[in-house]
Symmetry: T
């Protein structure tokens, strides 16, 4: 990491499969409009319960990317 | 909440009327340019004091909205 | 407060009127089944947004009550 | 979420398979005695180590459910 | 805010009316002996329960004022 | 700790003798109605002051116990 | 606690005897110049080590007292 | 600060010179595309180590600016 | 856990497979030089992004082990 | 540090030069009216932005001093 | 404290007698292999419950010592 | 950062010159006995006051390094 400036945005990914997949969903979405994605940090893990099971994992992450 | 991705932004609303109104001001402003606003979370409540009274409540909130 | 033991439970009250009213709703509900309610502490304030306005304030509180 | 009141309880699920499964174990247990389970929040992830491997994931969660 | 030094004190205001009013009570009290009150920050909101209702909102705030 | 689920409750014990005794008071009370008490975690230590001395130590703890 | 305003100050008591005694030392000192001391909250517990033993417990507390 | 709404974004500035300079780098970058920058808050200070020295200070800040 | 003393160290495991595997990697590494590993606690979950996907999960954990 | 009691106050120093200088300004001011200043702790670093640069660093510190 | 560098390690002491004694146990153990122990900070207090009483207090502390 | 494991240690550097220099002192010391130092994170900034000025900045950092 050289003398760059990075922007950090916050996203919530959701997935009915796993908490890791919820992270992947959020990053995949970010990648459709942003370049230079560099790192993520998990802020919060939660989810909805449906019929006595985890319906969706919802993982709030920060995603950092380099400004050109 | 199905398999969507949400973005979370941070705003500070201010109001001379009440702390609840400061939240409303921030959300109303967000609604002028963003669709699908879904939830908010209060991050911090502070304010300025003028002549020995609360001059403005300033409430920092996170606002989540669904990405299309 | 003498040599008593207190139990602390966590509730989320919701209200379309105000964040204070959301606290009141939670305490009123607790009072229908518990006696000796003594104090509350606000843990988190959030809410849903509907049509660009606060739809419901949702306030998570802890409520303490004395065990007999 | 309309004008309801929710109760939040804290559980620790444990699983030798995965941290997601530890969440599922806790929610499944809660569902045997409680209705209207609505959401969960992960509070803490820890575990025991046995023979140089993760023996059990232990995930502390909050579970929210609507009071009738 | 130029090159000044500010002192920050902590107060708890209480009010049977509202949490905003508890903030106002604390600031009004501070204003009777201190000048140059500049800002406040909410640290904690809690209260006493009497007869199944909020008896008093108790809001702990920090108040900043400029030292001459 | 095998594949069990644990519930965690929050209690405040108070004691005029010591902060450790306040913990003991809370656990003793819990033991009168709950089995399988397993661990505790101190959340907060506070107390009342009477005549310029500690009147009561009040220790808020979480208590975990195994669900059958 | 009625409609009063309270001031909260921060003190560090130290004691070579015990952490509870460090709290007592701080409160006793506060009582020599302040009236209406009402409650304390433990903020931090630390200490110095001398010759491989606890030399002094140092407990930082907040002390609340009613303003007349 | 009157009845305005502010947006808060998160940036990471990096600098091989000093942690203050890392803050300046982030703010200078923000100023190339945003007007009305008003305040910053330091969220986290970290950095990379190269050859046993600080290679880059990396300071994560929040930057607030007024929405027109 | 009897009258023992435990040491707690902090490790970051990384894995391209899953966040659980990152925990396993860190514990396996610790086990090559330390005995009596007893428990772990997750401190932080983050990772690198490569080509719009999670490249590596990086999980910072504390690992506790008994001193002989 | 022997069996003394310390008071801790909170100050915000501001400086257009550096964050370290903001700390120095606050301590210098405290020294004009208080004796026995012993230590400080940084609580928060923030500042104002003017013309796309840091206008003032504002550092909130706690300052501890021995009570006679 | 002059221009030295200190290392900080984390230990958990346990004791069936008191939480203060758990701190002492951890420090005594550290003193058998380390010199120049200087200070400690309490990070967490918890414990096991056996037969409805505190079986062991477990206090996690940080211990700082000067590197030669 | 590939599939490696990193260890994180905690150090306190002190310096009479600046807070940045206190970080440098700690890292330089670590470099005399450890290889592969990779990153640092500031945990706490504090210091001693001597004659109404900052005597020493004391910065507690975490330092991460790759295990071979």
């Amino acid at each position: 990491m050289s003398d760059h400036v990075y922007k950090v945005i916050e996203l919530v990914g959701s997935s009915s499969k796993s908490s890791d997949d919820a992270i992947q969903q959020a990053i995949a979405k970010a990648g459709t409009s942003l370049h230079n994605l560099d790192w993520f940090e998990v802020v919060e893990t939660r989810g909805h319960i449906t019929e006595g099971k985890v319906g969706h994992y919802q993982v709030k992450i920060k995603v950092g990317f380099r400004l050109d």
